[in-house]
Point group: C2
Protein backbone atom coordinates (compact mmCIF):
# COMPACT_ATOMS: atom_id res chain seq x y z
CA UNK A 1 0.00 0.00 0.00
CA UNK A 2 1.08 3.55 -0.58
CA UNK A 3 0.75 6.24 2.02
CA UNK A 4 -2.58 7.54 0.78
CA UNK A 5 -4.11 4.10 0.93
CA UNK A 6 -3.03 3.25 4.41
CA UNK A 7 -4.01 6.68 5.62
CA UNK A 8 -7.49 6.41 4.16
CA UNK A 9 -7.81 2.89 5.45
CA UNK A 10 -7.11 3.87 9.02
CA UNK A 11 -8.77 7.22 8.76
CA UNK A 12 -5.97 9.71 9.10
CA UNK A 13 -4.23 12.01 6.62
CA UNK A 14 -1.01 11.18 4.82
CA UNK A 15 0.52 14.18 6.49
CA UNK A 16 -0.24 12.72 9.88
CA UNK A 17 1.40 9.45 8.89
CA UNK A 18 4.56 11.26 7.86
CA UNK A 19 4.43 13.19 11.07
CA UNK A 20 4.33 9.95 13.02
CA UNK A 21 7.37 8.77 11.09
CA UNK A 22 9.23 11.94 11.91
CA UNK A 23 8.47 11.70 15.58
CA UNK A 24 9.39 8.06 15.71
CA UNK A 25 5.94 6.74 16.49
CA UNK A 26 5.71 4.64 13.39
CA UNK A 27 8.81 3.13 11.77
CA UNK A 28 9.62 4.13 8.23
CA UNK A 29 8.55 1.35 5.88
CA UNK A 30 10.70 0.23 2.96
CA UNK A 31 10.66 2.31 -0.21
CA UNK A 32 9.77 1.34 -3.72
CA UNK A 33 12.34 2.05 -6.39
CA UNK A 34 10.63 5.34 -7.12
CA UNK A 35 10.98 6.47 -3.55
CA UNK A 36 7.39 5.88 -2.50
CA UNK A 37 6.83 4.36 0.90
CA UNK A 38 5.41 0.85 0.76
CA UNK A 39 3.25 -0.16 3.70
CA UNK A 40 2.20 -3.58 4.88
CA UNK A 41 -0.37 -4.97 7.25
CA UNK A 42 1.75 -4.53 10.35
CA UNK A 43 2.07 -0.85 9.62
CA UNK A 44 -1.67 -0.61 9.33
CA UNK A 45 -2.08 -2.46 12.60
CA UNK A 46 0.32 -0.12 14.33
CA UNK A 47 -1.22 2.96 12.79
CA UNK A 48 -4.64 1.82 13.90
CA UNK A 49 -3.36 1.47 17.41
CA UNK A 50 -1.94 4.94 17.29
CA UNK A 51 -5.23 6.28 16.08
CA UNK A 52 -7.18 4.61 18.84
CA UNK A 53 -4.85 6.07 21.42
CA UNK A 54 -4.79 9.58 20.03
CA UNK A 55 -8.56 9.52 19.75
CA UNK A 56 -8.70 8.89 23.43
CA UNK A 57 -6.89 12.16 23.81
CA UNK A 58 -3.37 11.00 24.50
CA UNK A 59 -0.52 13.16 23.36
CA UNK A 60 1.91 11.72 20.87
CA UNK A 61 4.67 11.23 23.41
CA UNK A 62 2.30 9.42 25.71
CA UNK A 63 1.36 7.22 22.81
CA UNK A 64 5.02 6.54 22.27
CA UNK A 65 5.46 5.57 25.89
CA UNK A 66 2.49 3.27 25.82
CA UNK A 67 3.60 1.59 22.62
CA UNK A 68 7.12 1.16 23.90
CA UNK A 69 5.94 -0.25 27.16
CA UNK A 70 4.64 -3.25 25.30
CA UNK A 71 2.75 -4.43 28.35
CA UNK A 72 -0.35 -2.64 29.44
CA UNK A 73 0.98 -1.75 32.83
CA UNK A 74 1.92 1.76 31.82
CA UNK A 75 -1.22 2.14 29.81
CA UNK A 76 -3.47 1.97 32.80
CA UNK A 77 -1.55 4.70 34.57
CA UNK A 78 -1.68 6.93 31.56
CA UNK A 79 -5.36 6.31 31.12
CA UNK A 80 -6.07 7.14 34.72
CA UNK A 81 -4.13 10.34 34.46
CA UNK A 82 -5.97 11.16 31.30
CA UNK A 83 -9.31 10.47 32.91
CA UNK A 84 -8.59 12.98 35.63
CA UNK A 85 -7.47 15.47 33.08
CA UNK A 86 -10.64 15.03 31.09
CA UNK A 87 -12.76 15.39 34.18
CA UNK A 88 -11.13 18.72 34.87
CA UNK A 89 -11.52 19.87 31.31
CA UNK A 90 -15.15 18.92 31.27
CA UNK A 91 -15.77 20.82 34.46
CA UNK A 92 -14.13 23.91 33.00
CA UNK A 93 -16.11 23.69 29.82
CA UNK A 94 -19.36 23.11 31.59
CA UNK A 95 -18.77 26.09 33.83
CA UNK A 96 -18.01 28.23 30.81
CA UNK A 97 -21.04 26.97 29.03
CA UNK A 98 -23.35 27.71 31.91
CA UNK A 99 -21.91 31.16 32.29
CA UNK A 100 -22.35 31.64 28.58
CA UNK A 101 -25.94 30.51 28.41
CA UNK A 102 -26.99 32.77 31.25
CA UNK A 103 -25.18 35.59 29.53
CA UNK A 104 -26.89 34.84 26.28
CA UNK A 105 -30.37 34.71 27.73
CA UNK A 106 -29.64 37.98 29.52
CA UNK A 107 -28.37 39.51 26.35
CA UNK A 108 -31.34 38.39 24.31
CA UNK A 109 -33.85 39.23 27.01
CA UNK A 110 -32.84 42.84 27.23
CA UNK A 111 -29.47 44.36 27.18
CA UNK A 112 -26.12 43.08 28.13
CA UNK A 113 -23.93 45.48 30.03
CA UNK A 114 -21.88 47.47 27.56
CA UNK A 115 -18.89 46.69 29.75
CA UNK A 116 -18.96 43.15 28.49
CA UNK A 117 -19.97 40.04 30.30
CA UNK A 118 -19.71 40.45 34.05
CA UNK A 119 -20.46 38.39 37.12
CA UNK A 120 -24.11 37.74 37.92
CA UNK A 121 -23.80 39.82 41.06
CA UNK A 122 -22.61 42.85 39.20
CA UNK A 123 -25.11 42.31 36.44
CA UNK A 124 -27.87 42.48 39.04
CA UNK A 125 -26.44 45.67 40.46
CA UNK A 126 -26.14 47.32 37.06
CA UNK A 127 -29.65 46.29 36.14
CA UNK A 128 -30.83 47.82 39.41
CA UNK A 129 -29.20 51.11 38.50
CA UNK A 130 -31.30 51.00 35.41
CA UNK A 131 -31.54 53.83 32.97
CA UNK A 132 -29.83 56.85 34.35
CA UNK A 133 -29.56 60.09 32.46
CA UNK A 134 -26.49 60.62 30.39
CA UNK A 135 -23.66 61.16 32.86
CA UNK A 136 -19.89 60.93 32.49
CA UNK A 137 -19.55 60.06 36.13
CA UNK A 138 -22.04 57.23 35.80
CA UNK A 139 -20.11 55.81 32.87
CA UNK A 140 -16.88 55.98 34.80
CA UNK A 141 -18.48 54.36 37.78
CA UNK A 142 -19.75 51.48 35.71
CA UNK A 143 -16.28 50.95 34.33
CA UNK A 144 -14.79 50.94 37.79
CA UNK A 145 -17.37 48.49 38.98
CA UNK A 146 -16.58 46.20 36.08
CA UNK A 147 -12.93 46.45 36.99
CA UNK A 148 -13.60 45.63 40.62
CA UNK A 149 -15.64 42.73 39.40
CA UNK A 150 -12.45 41.19 38.09
CA UNK A 151 -10.15 42.45 40.81
CA UNK A 152 -12.09 41.32 43.82
CA UNK A 153 -11.84 37.64 44.65
CA UNK A 154 -15.03 35.68 44.33
CA UNK A 155 -15.67 35.26 48.04
CA UNK A 156 -15.80 38.96 48.67
CA UNK A 157 -17.77 39.87 45.62
CA UNK A 158 -21.15 39.23 47.14
CA UNK A 159 -20.32 41.37 50.18
CA UNK A 160 -19.03 44.20 48.05
CA UNK A 161 -22.05 44.21 45.81
CA UNK A 162 -24.27 44.25 48.87
CA UNK A 163 -22.64 47.48 49.97
CA UNK A 164 -23.10 48.94 46.56
CA UNK A 165 -26.75 48.10 46.56
CA UNK A 166 -27.13 50.36 49.56
CA UNK A 167 -25.80 53.26 47.55
CA UNK A 168 -27.74 52.52 44.41
CA UNK A 169 -30.79 54.46 45.56
CA UNK A 170 -29.00 57.77 45.65
CA UNK A 171 -26.88 57.08 42.61
CA UNK A 172 -28.58 59.59 40.38
CA UNK A 173 -28.05 62.55 42.69
CA UNK A 174 -24.52 61.56 43.53
CA UNK A 175 -23.60 61.37 39.88
CA UNK A 176 -25.16 64.77 39.31
CA UNK A 177 -23.25 66.31 42.19
CA UNK A 178 -19.96 64.90 40.98
CA UNK A 179 -20.61 65.73 37.34
CA UNK A 180 -21.09 69.31 38.38
CA UNK A 181 -17.55 69.33 39.71
CA UNK A 182 -16.01 68.20 36.43
CA UNK A 183 -14.58 71.64 35.65
CA UNK A 184 -14.52 73.09 39.14
CA UNK A 185 -11.50 74.01 41.20
CA UNK A 186 -10.59 71.77 44.15
CA UNK A 187 -11.69 74.46 46.60
CA UNK A 188 -15.08 74.94 45.00
CA UNK A 189 -17.76 75.36 47.67
CA UNK A 190 -19.83 72.52 46.14
CA UNK A 191 -17.12 70.00 46.98
CA UNK A 192 -18.21 69.88 50.58
CA UNK A 193 -21.83 69.04 49.79
CA UNK A 194 -20.84 66.33 47.39
CA UNK A 195 -18.48 64.85 49.94
CA UNK A 196 -21.18 64.73 52.62
CA UNK A 197 -23.71 63.17 50.30
CA UNK A 198 -21.22 60.56 49.18
CA UNK A 199 -20.04 59.82 52.70
CA UNK A 200 -23.61 59.15 53.72
CA UNK A 201 -23.75 56.03 51.55
CA UNK A 202 -20.23 54.79 52.16
CA UNK A 203 -19.83 52.02 54.69
CA UNK A 204 -18.17 52.98 57.96
CA UNK A 205 -15.03 50.96 57.72
CA UNK A 206 -14.13 51.85 54.19
CA UNK A 207 -11.11 53.97 55.05
CA UNK A 208 -9.21 51.07 56.56
CA UNK A 209 -9.98 48.75 53.70
CA UNK A 210 -8.40 51.08 51.24
CA UNK A 211 -4.66 51.22 50.82
CA UNK A 212 -3.19 54.50 52.07
CA UNK A 213 -2.74 57.23 49.55
CA UNK A 214 0.53 57.73 47.81
CA UNK A 215 1.44 54.09 48.07
CA UNK A 216 1.07 53.70 44.37
CA UNK A 217 -1.23 51.20 42.75
CA UNK A 218 -4.84 51.40 41.82
CA UNK A 219 -6.05 53.96 44.36
CA UNK A 220 -3.73 56.70 43.17
CA UNK A 221 -4.48 55.99 39.56
CA UNK A 222 -8.13 56.19 40.38
CA UNK A 223 -7.86 59.64 41.88
CA UNK A 224 -5.61 60.77 39.08
CA UNK A 225 -8.31 59.74 36.66
CA UNK A 226 -10.86 62.10 38.20
CA UNK A 227 -11.09 65.83 37.82
CA UNK A 228 -9.36 67.69 40.70
CA UNK A 229 -12.55 68.78 42.43
CA UNK A 230 -14.11 65.36 42.04
CA UNK A 231 -11.06 63.71 43.43
CA UNK A 232 -11.08 66.11 46.38
CA UNK A 233 -14.72 65.35 47.07
CA UNK A 234 -14.21 61.61 47.03
CA UNK A 235 -11.15 61.84 49.23
CA UNK A 236 -12.99 63.93 51.76
CA UNK A 237 -15.98 61.59 51.68
CA UNK A 238 -13.77 58.67 52.50
CA UNK A 239 -12.18 60.54 55.35
CA UNK A 240 -15.56 61.47 56.71
CA UNK A 241 -16.79 57.90 56.56
CA UNK A 242 -13.62 56.75 58.21
CA UNK A 243 -13.92 59.19 61.11
CA UNK A 244 -17.52 58.24 61.56
CA UNK A 245 -16.45 54.64 61.73
CA UNK A 246 -13.91 55.37 64.45
CA UNK A 247 -16.41 57.37 66.40
CA UNK A 248 -18.80 54.46 66.38
CA UNK A 249 -16.24 52.07 67.66
Amino acid sequence: MRIGEIAALVGVTPRAVRHYHQSGLLPEPPRRPNGYREYGVRDAVLLARIRRLTELGLGLDEVRDVLADDEGRGLVEVLEELAEDLARQEAVIRARREHLTTLLTEARAGRLPAEGPVSPELAALLAGLGELPESPMAAKDREILALLDVVVPEEERARLMELMHGAAGSARELYALLDALADAAPDDPRVDGAARALAAVLPDGIAVELPPEGSGGLADSFFADLAPAQSAAVRRAIRLAGERGEGNR
Copy 2:
Protein backbone atom coordinates in the same frame (compact mmCIF):
# COMPACT_ATOMS: atom_id res chain seq x y z
CA MET B 1 1.04 51.57 37.94
CA ARG B 2 3.80 49.52 36.45
CA ILE B 3 3.18 46.42 34.42
CA GLY B 4 3.58 44.02 37.32
CA GLU B 5 1.03 45.87 39.35
CA ILE B 6 -1.66 46.07 36.75
CA ALA B 7 -1.09 42.46 35.81
CA ALA B 8 -1.42 41.27 39.40
CA LEU B 9 -4.43 43.50 39.87
CA VAL B 10 -6.33 42.02 36.99
CA GLY B 11 -4.96 38.56 37.46
CA VAL B 12 -2.80 37.97 34.40
CA THR B 13 0.95 37.82 33.90
CA PRO B 14 3.08 40.73 32.73
CA ARG B 15 4.01 38.62 29.75
CA ALA B 16 0.36 38.37 28.76
CA VAL B 17 -0.04 42.14 29.00
CA ARG B 18 2.91 42.68 26.69
CA HIS B 19 1.47 40.11 24.38
CA TYR B 20 -1.78 42.05 24.25
CA HIS B 21 0.18 45.16 23.37
CA GLN B 22 1.98 43.38 20.58
CA SER B 23 -1.19 42.05 19.09
CA GLY B 24 -2.92 45.37 19.32
CA LEU B 25 -5.52 44.37 21.87
CA LEU B 26 -4.39 46.86 24.46
CA PRO B 27 -2.82 50.19 23.47
CA GLU B 28 0.69 50.90 24.64
CA PRO B 29 0.56 53.26 27.62
CA PRO B 30 2.96 56.18 28.00
CA ARG B 31 6.44 55.48 29.31
CA ARG B 32 8.23 56.85 32.29
CA PRO B 33 11.60 58.49 31.68
CA ASN B 34 13.28 55.20 32.47
CA GLY B 35 11.33 53.39 29.82
CA TYR B 36 8.88 51.64 32.11
CA ARG B 37 5.29 51.51 30.97
CA GLU B 38 2.97 53.57 33.14
CA TYR B 39 -0.62 52.31 33.35
CA GLY B 40 -3.73 54.11 34.43
CA VAL B 41 -7.24 53.13 35.38
CA ARG B 42 -8.52 52.98 31.83
CA ASP B 43 -5.87 50.43 30.98
CA ALA B 44 -6.94 48.34 33.93
CA VAL B 45 -10.55 48.59 32.83
CA LEU B 46 -9.69 47.49 29.35
CA LEU B 47 -7.46 44.71 30.55
CA ALA B 48 -10.20 43.45 32.83
CA ARG B 49 -12.55 43.35 29.88
CA ILE B 50 -10.04 41.38 27.90
CA ARG B 51 -9.65 38.95 30.74
CA ARG B 52 -13.37 38.41 31.07
CA LEU B 53 -13.65 37.69 27.39
CA THR B 54 -10.69 35.36 27.15
CA GLU B 55 -11.94 33.50 30.19
CA LEU B 56 -15.11 32.80 28.34
CA GLY B 57 -12.94 31.05 25.81
CA LEU B 58 -12.77 33.62 23.05
CA GLY B 59 -9.66 33.77 20.94
CA LEU B 60 -7.64 36.94 20.97
CA ASP B 61 -8.77 38.02 17.52
CA GLU B 62 -12.38 37.49 18.49
CA VAL B 63 -11.74 39.63 21.52
CA ARG B 64 -10.32 42.26 19.24
CA ASP B 65 -13.37 42.16 17.05
CA VAL B 66 -15.69 42.44 20.00
CA LEU B 67 -13.79 45.33 21.49
CA ALA B 68 -13.62 47.14 18.19
CA ASP B 69 -17.30 46.63 17.55
CA ASP B 70 -18.01 48.87 20.50
CA GLU B 71 -21.64 47.88 20.40
CA GLY B 72 -22.69 44.50 21.66
CA ARG B 73 -24.22 43.47 18.36
CA GLY B 74 -21.21 41.47 17.31
CA LEU B 75 -20.68 40.16 20.77
CA VAL B 76 -23.89 38.19 20.77
CA GLU B 77 -23.01 36.51 17.51
CA VAL B 78 -19.59 35.57 18.75
CA LEU B 79 -21.00 34.25 21.98
CA GLU B 80 -23.54 32.13 20.17
CA GLU B 81 -20.89 30.69 17.95
CA LEU B 82 -18.77 30.02 20.99
CA ALA B 83 -21.65 28.34 22.76
CA GLU B 84 -22.08 25.91 19.89
CA ASP B 85 -18.40 25.26 19.87
CA LEU B 86 -18.36 24.54 23.54
CA ALA B 87 -21.34 22.24 23.23
CA ARG B 88 -19.46 20.24 20.64
CA GLN B 89 -16.32 20.14 22.70
CA GLU B 90 -18.19 19.02 25.74
CA ALA B 91 -19.85 16.24 23.79
CA VAL B 92 -16.50 15.05 22.52
CA ILE B 93 -14.98 15.10 25.95
CA ARG B 94 -17.88 13.33 27.54
CA ALA B 95 -17.77 10.61 24.91
CA ARG B 96 -14.07 10.19 25.47
CA ARG B 97 -14.54 10.09 29.17
CA GLU B 98 -17.23 7.44 29.00
CA HIS B 99 -15.14 5.34 26.68
CA LEU B 100 -12.25 5.78 29.04
CA THR B 101 -14.10 4.80 32.18
CA THR B 102 -15.47 1.63 30.63
CA LEU B 103 -11.97 0.85 29.43
CA LEU B 104 -10.55 1.45 32.85
CA THR B 105 -13.05 -0.73 34.64
CA GLU B 106 -12.41 -3.44 32.08
CA ALA B 107 -8.70 -3.08 32.53
CA ARG B 108 -8.87 -3.21 36.27
CA ALA B 109 -11.43 -5.99 36.34
CA GLY B 110 -9.23 -8.39 34.49
CA ARG B 111 -7.28 -7.83 31.38
CA LEU B 112 -7.35 -5.23 28.72
CA PRO B 113 -6.70 -6.44 25.20
CA ALA B 114 -3.00 -6.20 24.53
CA GLU B 115 -3.91 -4.59 21.24
CA GLY B 116 -4.83 -1.47 23.10
CA PRO B 117 -8.25 -0.05 23.72
CA VAL B 118 -10.80 -1.30 21.21
CA SER B 119 -14.50 -0.94 20.58
CA PRO B 120 -16.82 -2.63 23.05
CA GLU B 121 -18.00 -5.01 20.34
CA LEU B 122 -14.53 -6.24 19.63
CA ALA B 123 -13.68 -6.37 23.29
CA ALA B 124 -16.60 -8.74 23.79
CA LEU B 125 -15.44 -10.90 20.93
CA LEU B 126 -11.90 -11.09 22.20
CA ALA B 127 -13.08 -11.90 25.68
CA GLY B 128 -15.20 -14.67 24.16
CA LEU B 129 -12.14 -16.12 22.50
CA GLY B 130 -10.67 -16.31 25.94
CA GLU B 131 -7.41 -17.96 26.70
CA LEU B 132 -6.19 -19.82 23.69
CA PRO B 133 -2.94 -21.69 23.64
CA GLU B 134 0.09 -19.86 22.38
CA SER B 135 -0.44 -19.48 18.64
CA PRO B 136 1.16 -17.16 16.09
CA MET B 137 -1.94 -17.30 13.94
CA ALA B 138 -4.13 -16.32 16.86
CA ALA B 139 -1.91 -13.35 17.57
CA LYS B 140 -2.06 -12.27 13.95
CA ASP B 141 -5.81 -12.68 13.91
CA ARG B 142 -6.23 -10.52 16.94
CA GLU B 143 -4.14 -7.85 15.31
CA ILE B 144 -6.19 -8.00 12.17
CA LEU B 145 -9.39 -7.79 14.13
CA ALA B 146 -8.08 -4.74 15.94
CA LEU B 147 -7.26 -3.23 12.60
CA LEU B 148 -10.70 -3.97 11.22
CA ASP B 149 -12.12 -2.41 14.32
CA VAL B 150 -10.70 0.90 13.18
CA VAL B 151 -11.24 0.37 9.48
CA VAL B 152 -14.84 -0.64 9.48
CA PRO B 153 -17.34 2.17 9.91
CA GLU B 154 -19.34 2.08 13.08
CA GLU B 155 -22.62 1.01 11.49
CA GLU B 156 -21.16 -2.18 10.12
CA ARG B 157 -19.13 -3.08 13.11
CA ALA B 158 -21.90 -4.85 14.95
CA ARG B 159 -22.75 -6.95 11.90
CA LEU B 160 -19.15 -7.89 11.33
CA MET B 161 -18.60 -8.90 14.91
CA GLU B 162 -21.75 -11.00 14.74
CA LEU B 163 -20.26 -12.99 11.93
CA MET B 164 -17.06 -13.44 13.83
CA HIS B 165 -18.90 -14.73 16.84
CA GLY B 166 -20.14 -17.58 14.69
CA ALA B 167 -16.59 -18.60 13.97
CA ALA B 168 -15.31 -18.16 17.51
CA GLY B 169 -16.31 -21.65 18.53
CA SER B 170 -13.96 -23.33 16.14
CA ALA B 171 -11.21 -20.77 16.53
CA ARG B 172 -8.84 -23.04 18.38
CA GLU B 173 -8.80 -25.75 15.74
CA LEU B 174 -8.63 -23.30 12.86
CA TYR B 175 -5.63 -21.60 14.37
CA ALA B 176 -3.97 -24.99 14.84
CA LEU B 177 -4.61 -25.99 11.25
CA LEU B 178 -3.20 -22.76 9.94
CA ASP B 179 -0.26 -22.73 12.29
CA ALA B 180 0.68 -26.12 10.96
CA LEU B 181 1.02 -24.58 7.51
CA ALA B 182 3.50 -21.94 8.61
CA ASP B 183 6.45 -23.66 6.97
CA ALA B 184 4.59 -25.75 4.41
CA ALA B 185 4.65 -25.43 0.65
CA PRO B 186 1.55 -24.01 -1.08
CA ASP B 187 0.73 -27.45 -2.53
CA ASP B 188 0.91 -29.17 0.82
CA PRO B 189 -1.91 -31.70 1.15
CA ARG B 190 -3.04 -30.18 4.45
CA VAL B 191 -3.98 -26.95 2.70
CA ASP B 192 -7.19 -28.47 1.46
CA GLY B 193 -8.40 -29.56 4.86
CA ALA B 194 -7.64 -26.20 6.38
CA ALA B 195 -9.48 -24.46 3.56
CA ARG B 196 -12.61 -26.58 4.04
CA ALA B 197 -12.62 -26.07 7.79
CA LEU B 198 -12.20 -22.34 7.37
CA ALA B 199 -14.82 -22.10 4.64
CA ALA B 200 -17.32 -23.79 6.93
CA VAL B 201 -17.40 -20.80 9.24
CA LEU B 202 -17.15 -18.08 6.64
CA PRO B 203 -20.40 -16.36 5.69
CA ASP B 204 -21.74 -17.18 2.23
CA GLY B 205 -21.45 -13.82 0.63
CA ILE B 206 -17.95 -13.04 1.74
CA ALA B 207 -16.34 -13.34 -1.68
CA VAL B 208 -18.31 -10.45 -3.10
CA GLU B 209 -17.66 -8.19 -0.13
CA LEU B 210 -13.95 -8.48 -0.57
CA PRO B 211 -12.15 -6.46 -3.17
CA PRO B 212 -10.82 -8.62 -6.02
CA GLU B 213 -7.29 -9.81 -5.71
CA GLY B 214 -4.46 -7.91 -7.27
CA SER B 215 -6.29 -4.62 -6.96
CA GLY B 216 -3.79 -3.48 -4.42
CA GLY B 217 -4.73 -2.27 -1.00
CA LEU B 218 -5.28 -4.12 2.19
CA ALA B 219 -6.31 -7.52 0.84
CA ASP B 220 -3.09 -8.09 -1.04
CA SER B 221 -1.01 -6.92 1.85
CA PHE B 222 -2.91 -9.29 4.05
CA PHE B 223 -2.11 -12.30 1.90
CA ALA B 224 1.46 -11.20 1.51
CA ASP B 225 1.74 -11.14 5.26
CA LEU B 226 0.85 -14.83 5.57
CA ALA B 227 3.03 -17.82 4.81
CA PRO B 228 2.47 -19.16 1.27
CA ALA B 229 0.52 -22.22 2.31
CA GLN B 230 -1.56 -20.25 4.76
CA SER B 231 -2.34 -17.69 2.17
CA ALA B 232 -3.33 -20.44 -0.29
CA ALA B 233 -5.64 -22.00 2.27
CA VAL B 234 -7.39 -18.74 3.05
CA ARG B 235 -7.77 -17.90 -0.61
CA ARG B 236 -9.26 -21.28 -1.33
CA ALA B 237 -11.59 -21.01 1.66
CA ILE B 238 -12.90 -17.72 0.40
CA ARG B 239 -13.49 -19.15 -3.05
CA LEU B 240 -15.31 -22.12 -1.59
CA ALA B 241 -17.56 -19.93 0.50
CA GLY B 242 -18.21 -17.76 -2.49
CA GLU B 243 -19.24 -20.68 -4.70
CA ARG B 244 -21.43 -22.02 -1.97
CA GLY B 245 -23.06 -18.63 -1.76
CA GLU B 246 -23.78 -18.62 -5.49
CA GLY B 247 -25.12 -22.12 -5.38
CA ASN B 248 -27.56 -21.20 -2.65
CA ARG B 249 -28.86 -18.27 -4.55
